[in-house]
Each structure stands twice: as structure tokens, then as C-alpha cells.
Amino acid sequence: MQYIPNILFVAILIVGIGYFAKNIGKLRRNILLGKDTEVSDDKPTRWRNMLRIAFGQSKMVVRPVAGLLHVIVYVGFIIINIEVLEIVIDGIFGTHRIFEGLGPVYDFLIASFEILALLVIIAVIAFWVRRNIIKLQRFLKPEMKGWPKKDGNLILYIELVLMLLFLTMNAADFRLQQLGAEHYVQAGSFPVSQYISNWFTGMDISSLILLERTAWWLHIVGILFFLNYLYFSKHLHILLAFPNTFYGKLGPKGKFQNLEAVTKEVKLMLDPNADPFAAPADTGDVPSKFGASDVMDLSWVQLLNAYTCTECGRCTSECPANQTGKKLSPRKIMMDTRDRLEEVGKILDANKGEFKEDGKQLLDDYITREELWACTSCNACVEACPVSIDPLSIIMDMRQYLVMEQSAAPSDLNNMMGNIENNGAPWPFNQMDRLNWSTES
């Protein structure tokens, strides 16, 4: 009978981690629906970017207030997780504070967890106030209605509850240590929870144990719940920010990829030795389509981008089109891409991994042409993203589909392109007049 808690703990652990692993598998499958892309170059720079941008939070602090609050929660999250290791070992083996042998180091660790927990609580409350009382504009855009808003708040509530449970657990433990309760070794230093423990002075040992155990169990179950919540939430960024910054675009932001398939054709057209009547080589491949109308046409890095997006809206608040009231919001581009990708994933689940057309696609059903054509390609969104997401590349790929597959550019742009084709300039001027400026007074 005495092993029931251990068995229960291991069972919960297996279910919690198992379900998470299953969803990670799904996530991986969905991301790999994207096209292959060349990202194996310049590994040293990629590692440096990951260290600097994701680990070092370098782009978060561009906005000092949100940046500082985020660093607190981020550091808290990483450091306090050391404690989770102890909880897991204790849970499996029925020990209590297994690391207490570390002595003063243990005291220091527990003390720093507590201080961080308090700071996290303060930061989380500040975040909640920004979202719900101050109502920062970027959290109120149309794409944030419904689940995204709820998701943002839920994450804050979960973090708050986890921190409070952690401190309650320590407070009850501290009181039990003072009372010399059996099994509760004298270990740790409790700079925050000792004040909470003052509220428990009237309680006897058995109610304190009940309180301590309840908080301990809820805390670890809560952590496992949170882990599994990630897949359904924008909060996935806590994991994906690392690979995403690693695979982020290198080189100048203004450099857009040249389509290789087009290069071949262009070179052939301009090659005086090419036989104009030659039959195309029959390779049996369906010619790949130009640009993107659905998520499978995007690269897997763009799909990873979509899952990494935490909907902070820095991109949208820097976007010149959005600032002037246009429908385009780079954040919505990323959210739409993820939503559509999830939808495609569900179709795969329902059809044993096979995709069945559902009459929907990313273009029009999620992202409208009006949004795509409002982009100035200024790269403000790319610059603003704290985790190296590139919404602009998706917009450009979708424009490419509209123009090259559908000839559906706005008529002004068709005129411009017609001029380039005919006169070598976007305006209807004669190429032979190109040097006239040099002799005009």
C-alpha cells in the first residue's frame, strides 16, 4: 500500500510525457509538410543567432518594459525547472528533498527559486494588467478576438497558479520543519514562503502535511498539464524559439530568393543555341507550381515560423500598412498559416496520414488578397520579431502565386509590368530616351 503514491506518480508522469511526445510527433509531421529548403549553411552563425536571440533574449529588450518582464519570466522558467527535477525524483522514489545533501548550495538554490517565483508572480500580474487593464493596442487587433485573447490570459493564470502552489508547498514544508515533523528534513532557505507560513501557525502537523502534499501534487500535475497545453497554444514559442532562431534567415534582409525553376527557363529563352522547337524533356514530373496558395507550398521553415509565433504583435505594431489602417497584419499571416496547417493536420489524422482536398486553402479562405497587396516589403515585421519569424517571405510567395499562376495582379501593377516588359522601365517611356536627362537643362 505504501507504494501507491509512487505508482500513481509514475503513471501520471508517463501519461503526461507520453501525450506530449505524441503531439510533438504530430507537430513535426505537420512542419515537414513544407517544402525542403537550404538551411545547412554557416552553422556557426546559426548557433550564434540562437544563443543571442533566443537564449540571450537580445531582441526582446528592444522594448525595455515588456523585455524586462519577459526576461524575468524566462529566467524564472528555466531556473525553477531545476526544482522540477528534484520533485520528479522525490515522486518516483518516495524521498523528500533528495538534494538536501547539497547543504548551503541547496539553501541557496531554494532561496533563489523563491525569489524568482515572487518576481515571476509580479511580472505575470504586470503582463495581465497590460493585456486587460491598460489594453495595449497590439493585443486588441481583430485577429486577437476569441481564443487568442483567452489563450494569452490562460497562460498567465497557469503560471500564476504554479508559482503560488510552489510557494505554498514550501511554506507548509517550512512550518513542518520548524515543528520537527517526521520525514520533513531541515533543508532549504525560504526567504519568501516563510512569510506565507505565518498564516499557517494555528495548523497542526497532519493538516500541514495535507496542505504540503496537496500543493506538491497540484504543482507537478499542473506542470505536466502546462506541458501538454503548449501544443494547443501560442506558448509553444518557449520550445520552438530555439530551432526557429537557428533556422532564421541569414544575410541581408533585402535579399529575396531567386526561383531556380524560373532561372532554367529564362536561361533557355535567352540562349541563342537553344532549339526553340525542342520537346520538353519528359521527366514525368508534374511541373511544380509557382509561389504558394496553401501551406504545403511553403517551406518547412515558414511552417516552423507559424508554430513559433507567440502572437506578441510587435510585427503588426511596426507594420506601415497596419499603422495606417489597412487590413494587413503580419501577425495574422502567421496565425492564419498555423490555423490552416492545423486544419490540414486534422485531415491527415482523419484519413490515416493521407491528405484529402477539403475545398479550402490558405489563400482567400484565410489570407485575403487585400492583405497581400497592402505590403510594402519594408521588412519592419521581420526586424521586429523577437524570434526571427519572416512573415514577409510568406506574403511574397503568395503574391508570386497570384501573379504567376493566376495572373491576378491589381491592374495598376499589370500596367507597370507591361511597361517593364516593353520599355525596360515601370513607366511608359521609351528605352531610347533613357539618357535624355544628361542633356536636358
Binding site: 506601415p320 497592402a374 505590403c375 515601370p426
Partner: protein, 263 residues
């Protein structure tokens, strides 16, 4: 100084068996747009005065393909690119300077993959280099104490990380450089990029160039400096919209320098 500009073409130079130090890529706006032509001429005056050996492609130049690519027409872009590259490679071009950040970005970043690799600099970088090498001199008199704010062109700044060259030149004019609330990495677009120049904007509550002009006006400048013919047009329109064209000039860096040198 005489009004005649010395503008040798590559064809002339080639025929004479000469090679210029640098090719001046004029660009479509610089060739055809009335406002941008003034920038082109100002830049040539500086080059002439400093006796820089340069040439233009003239009628052999054609659109880089930037607006076509940004509008989604990769095919047209590559047709333009490959044609231009053939011309430039035939002339064995090594170094290119251009007054248009869009041409600059496209030739520098997107031509190498198609067989055209050159050293490409924006005219503000080129002028800064000439200044450092003592091949041009600048005297501050004309703009001493004037408040000048610089609007970062997206394709020069964010796209290619060039923020300091134009600012350095403004400081060298003894002018007071004042920054807008969004500048450098966070500079706001003028609204022309991504082929927007050639179409009507989507429905919204304001035009982008008006928003940017308002930011510029907040710095109470005498001059709004630009480094791109399209930004120049957008900001000029913005200043007109605010009925400030009597007080505030929109000028390219090359024009500022030409004016300071009384060219």
C-alpha cells in the same frame, strides 16, 4: 559652373579602349522621373567636379526587375536581371554605384545568384568614401545650423544595414541632424516599396507617406533628407499635403552636397 554635364557611356568608353573606375547605375526613376532626374544630375555634378572616372549604360540600361519581383513576377524579374547581367558582364563591370536603394539591393543581393557579381555601393556610401579619401571636400557653410532629419529608405537601412553613411555626410555639412521617433532599424517605410509606388494603396485610414511625413514634421526640420528617389517623391507629396512645401524642402543627400559645393 557650366551646366553641361560630362556623362560618358560605357559604349563610348569601350570604343575608346577605356575602363571607368565605376559604373553609375542611374535607374528608371533617375532616368525618367522629373524630380529624380535632379538627384541624378546633382550626383553627376559631384562626380564631374571630383574628376571621378565613371560611365553610365545609357540606353543599354534596363529596369533591374525589382518592382516586378516584389509584385510577384519572378519570371519578368529574372528576364530583366539576366539581360542586364549580360550587358554588364560584357563590359567587365567590377564596381557599381547607384542613387536608388532598390537597384542597389537587387543588384547587390539578387544578381549574384544569376551570374552577376559586382561590388555595389549606394551613392551615400560612395560619397562618404570619396570624402574619406580626400577626393571631394565639403564645406558646411550653406547648411550650418540647419535642422535636417534623415528618412531611412527601407532597402538601404533595414534591408542592407546601411544607416551611418548618409548620416555622416549630413553631419559633415555642419547641419544639425535630428532623428525621427522611428529611425534606423525601426524606421517607418515611406509607403512606396514592394511595388506600392505603382498602384493605389489598399483601403485604410491614412496613407503611409502622410504618417511618415507627420513623424518628420515632429522634428521641426528645415530639410527632410532622403536617399531614395521613391522616398523622395512620397515625402515631397506628404509635405505638400501638409502645405509645408514653402518651409520644408525634401532633398537627396547628393543634392545637399551639390548645393553646399555650389554646383
Amino acid at each position: 559652373m557650366a551646366d553641361t554635364l560630362k556623362v560618358p557611356t560605357m559604349a563610348e568608353m569601350f570604343a575608346a579602349g577605356e575602363k571607368p573606375e565605376v559604373l553609375f547605375w542611374v535607374g528608371c526613376a533617375g532616368s525618367f522621373d522629373d524630380r529624380a532626374k535632379k538627384i541624378t544630375k546633382a550626383f553627376v555634378k559631384i562626380l564631374n567636379k571630383a574628376n571621378i572616372s565613371f560611365a553610365v549604360l545609357g540606353t543599354e540600361e534596363s529596369c533591374t526587375g525589382d518592382p516586378a519581383k516584389r509584385a510577384g513576377n519572378e519570371f519578368l524579374f529574372q528576364m530583366q536581371a539576366v539581360t542586364n547581367i549580360e550587358v554588364m558582364n560584357a563590359y567587365e563591370i567590377k564596381k557599381i554605384v547607384t542613387t536608388c536603394p532598390h537597384c542597389f539591393n537587387t543588384i547587390k543581393n539578387e544578381y549574384p545568384g544569376l551570374g552577376g557579381t559586382y561590388e555595389v555601393v549606394h551613392h551615400t556610401q560612395f560619397l562618404k568614401q570619396l570624402l574619406e579619401e580626400g577626393r571631394i571636400t565639403m564645406e558646411g557653410g550653406t547648411f550650418k545650423g540647419k535642422r535636417i532629419t534623415f528618412h531611412d529608405p527601407c532597402y538601404l537601412g533595414r534591408a542592407n544595414g546601411v544607416y551611418e553613411a548618409p548620416r555622416e555626410l549630413i553631419r559633415k555639412l555642419d547641419a544639425e541632424l535630428v532623428e525621427m521617433k522611428s529611425c534606423k532599424q525601426r524606421g517607418l517605410c515611406c509607403g512606396a516599396g514592394g511595388a506600392q509606388m505603382f498602384k493605389e494603396p489598399e483601403k485604410g485610414n491614412k496613407d503611409v507617406n502622410i504618417e511618415r511625413t507627420e513623424q518628420a514634421l515632429e522634428t521641426t526640420p528645415h530639410i527632410i533628407a532622403a536617399g531614395c528617389p521613391f522616398c523622395n517623391t512620397m515625402m515631397t507629396d506628404g509635405v505638400k499635403n501638409k502645405e509645408k512645401e514653402g518651409e520644408i524642402a525634401v532633398m537627396d543627400i547628393a543634392e545637399l552636397i551639390a548645393k553646399a559645393e555650389d554646383l
